[in-house]
């Protein structure tokens, strides 16, 4: 199981969700799909039409920038981080 680190602003949308969760999957897309079964609606917050990651959502797998197709090792660390933007 990969360990997924979620941002505060995301878990705030789903009360009771932990900042660090385990999820099974071999790609970022599968990881997010697995998260969505644990937290219904979460995928819609991260994934736009395409499907692609939303424009201001950054995902890192083991510290490297990733997209939905990026492979995920069983023991990988996945960080989901909102981009620095806004005003």
């Amino acid at each position: 199981m990969a360990t997924v680190h979620l941002p505060r602003s995301l878990v705030a949308l789903f009360p009771g969700t932990e900042r660090r969760v385990d999820a099974a999957g071999t790609t970022v897309a599968e990881i997010i799909a697995a998260l969505d079964t644990q937290v219904p609606g979460l995928r819609n917050r991260l994934v736009d039409a395409g499907p692609v990651l939303r424009r201001h959502i950054n995902v890192y797998v083991d510290g490297e920038p990733a997209d939905l197709s990026t492979p995920v090792r069983p023991t990988a660390a996945v960080h989901i981080i909102p981009a620095v933007s806004g005003g």
Partner: protein
């Protein structure tokens, strides 16, 4: 149980709820709600009393929020709020309206979605997107947004929508087919034909109290009324200081009374004329207009008011409320004759909705 007067305020940085005293003169504020998301529109769902809030977050996309405990806790969903993986991205929801047991969401880029399960899931009303004029729709300065949803009060198959800068449409068959409703509405910004079938920049579309056929609109190019469900519009701008403005609110019982807030012009800053905020009302369907600035600052107040940021409650006398794009919220408990401030120093106000609940 005593009646409670609520104002639902959507802002650029979250939703707020104000609760007023019996005189609607003092207001207590709660917020920011909805995690500080930009909120374009709020409403109350008839029957359940649930509060709905529509908006979109720069990071997390569009959603319609729902609270069944007057804003204490919230859920949100955008399930189905998509044009599909091959379609355009939807950044935000501009309008949420309850009608005949369903919810409707107007989004950007312009389209209409319906929910029959209280906002848990949404279905695209494809008939509007499939309108033959769709390839030629062009955005206004605020984007190509479907901002006005006007259900028929008794016929669930009839509805009007307003899109910037495309104009008004009506369906009579529950959304399967739509017809343009822009005849008589001017579009000054075209070089030759000022009265096209579509392409008008409707800013706000509202229905008069007698329901069904009497409509009003504040347009980029004037104020208009229709007595036949929008098939023909008649300009009622004369008497106002400007043809340009965004919001419009209709009296809940008198079909001849509406309120609007003219701004100085589309190319002159888009704030109130001469820095003197005023709400203008007509009591004769636009035949004459009456200015009221009483209680509003009348010097050096260069505020603007956006399309969804004015509303009327259903009490007698009617309460009228508006919010500015610089965070002031004003209310009138005497049908717009005099005003007092209800809240200040809020984020930019995008919408105001009044609700009276038991």
């Amino acid at each position: 149980m005593a009646t409670r007067n609520l104002l639902l305020v959507g802002t650029r940085k979250g939703a707020f709820i104000l609760e007023g005293d019996a005189k609607r003169s003092k207001w207590n504020l709660r917020g920011p709600l909805c995690e500080g998301w930009p909120i374009h529109d709020m409403t109350i769902e008839p029957g359940s009393g649930a509060i709905l809030a529509a908006g979109g977050n720069e990071w997390y996309g569009p959603a319609v929020w729902r609270s069944e405990d007057l804003g204490e806790t919230w859920t949100h969903s955008s399930e189905g709020l998509t044009y599909g993986d091959d379609g355009a991205n939807i950044p935000t929801v501009w309008n949420v309206t309850a009608a005949h047991g369903s919810l409707y969401a107007g989004v950007e880029p312009a389209g209409l979605f319906r929910s029959d399960d209280r906002g848990a899931t949404w279905t695209h009303v494809e008939g509007l997107t499939n309108h033959p004029t769709r390839p030629e729709w062009q955005p206004g300065a605020g984007g190509l947004c479907l901002h006005s949803i006007v259900p028929h009060p008794t016929d669930p198959k009839r509805m009007w929508v307003g899109i910037s800068a495309v104009g008004a449409f009506e369906t009579k068959d529950g959304g399967t087919t739509w017809e343009t409703r822009n005849k008589g509405v001017r579009a000054d910004f075209y070089p030759e034909n000022k009265y096209p079938e579509f392409g008008q920049c409707v800013h706000k579309l509202v229905m008069a109290a007698d329901g069904g056929e009497h409509l009003y609109q504040q347009n980029h190019c004037g104020v208009y009324r229709s007595s036949d469900g929008g098939r023909q519009w008649e300009e009622i701008t004369p008497g106002l200081p400007s043809q340009f403005g965004f919001p419009m609110a209709a009296h809940p019982r008198d079909p001849n009374t509406v309120w609007t807030i003219p701004l100085n012009g589309d190319d002159q800053g888009r704030y109130v004329p001469d820095g003197k905020p005023a709400v203008w009302r007509t009591n004769d369907a636009g035949g004459t207009w009456i200015r009221s600035g009483e209680g509003l600052p009348q010097k050096d107040a260069y505020v603007g008011v956006l399309r969804e940021a004015m509303t009327a409650d259903a009490l007698d006398p009617v309460g009228v409320y508006f919010g500015t794009s610089t965070g002031q919220l004003y209310g009138s408990a005497d049908e717009g004759k005099s005003w007092r401030i209800a809240a200040d120093n809020l984020p930019a106000i995008w919408s105001v909705e009044a609700a009276v609940i038991d």
